[in-house]
Amino acid sequence: MTLQPLPEKEMVQRALDGDVRARTEIVLRHQDLVYNLALKLTGNPERAECVLQETFLKVFEKLDTFRLDSALGTWIYRIATNAALMMLRQRKGRLVPMEEEGDDEETSRYARMLKSLDRDPLELLLDTEFKDALERAMAQLPDSWRVPFVLKDIEGLSLQEIAQTMNTTVPAVKAALHRGRTALRDHLAEFIEAREAADQKSSQKRVG
């Protein structure tokens, strides 16, 4: 006989009573949500794993404070966000200024980038080298730029919520968000430029 998933309230109640199956079910239902968020916020699988473990330790430690009339996923999501931010604070986020480019060079680079990206996003993401470059660019961002980018542009939180979570002001979040977005755009443009140059070189070799 196949086991049926437990209704959420019953699952929480049973987990509070020490039911091992209910606890495991809570983990398995929410582990991908937590891991994805942690991976994006920390930009590193090892750190994401630490956040994953810390989050669920906290979930079971605080489960008796969870209100049964609210959504468990939202509650866990908040704990995971705090766990990730705590980890980033402890390791003191890097602040690496981006290099400035010459104006003309910059403008034509973005035009080439847009031309090269004139494909379906799904098709682009099947290109492993491209996907790796996206992840690398995100991991290289200073934490203080990556966190607002992930929370606003990927997770869809409001500026107010992000400011509260990060213990800062809305204008500060806006400024960091802009820096994060343009830095990722610049990393992407750089990657595309390098790849096109390599392609050109190899086709010249073939002709020669």
């Binding site: 799904l122 993401l125 542009d153 806006k174």
Partner: protein, 83 residues
């Protein structure tokens, strides 16, 4: 980039932190229609955000899940697949 574009970009930098349909952004868009350089700036950032949004969800690898359950003192068990 011309001086008028530079001033515009400063405002755009602030406005980009807002929803793209906010009143400030709407005003900026009017300028964009007549300025190819600024259009390029905005389009390239917008495209970057779109691409990042479309990255598919990662799953917790099997070994990592085992370590997680061990840390929580929970056993590996067969649970419904459609959790």
């Amino acid at each position: 980039m011309q001086d008028k574009c530079r001033a515009f970009m400063e405002r755009l930098c602030t406005a980009l932190g807002e929803d793209l349909n906010s009143p400030v952004c709407t005003e900026l868009k009017e300028h964009l229609e007549s300025c190819p350089d600024c259009t390029l700036q905005l389009d390239s950032v917008r495209r970057t955000v779109e691409i990042y949004r479309s990255i598919p969800c990662a799953h917790v690898p099997g070994e990592m899940q085992k370590r997680l359950l061990a840390r929580l003192n929970l056993p590996l068990m067969d649970l419904p697949e459609d959790l």
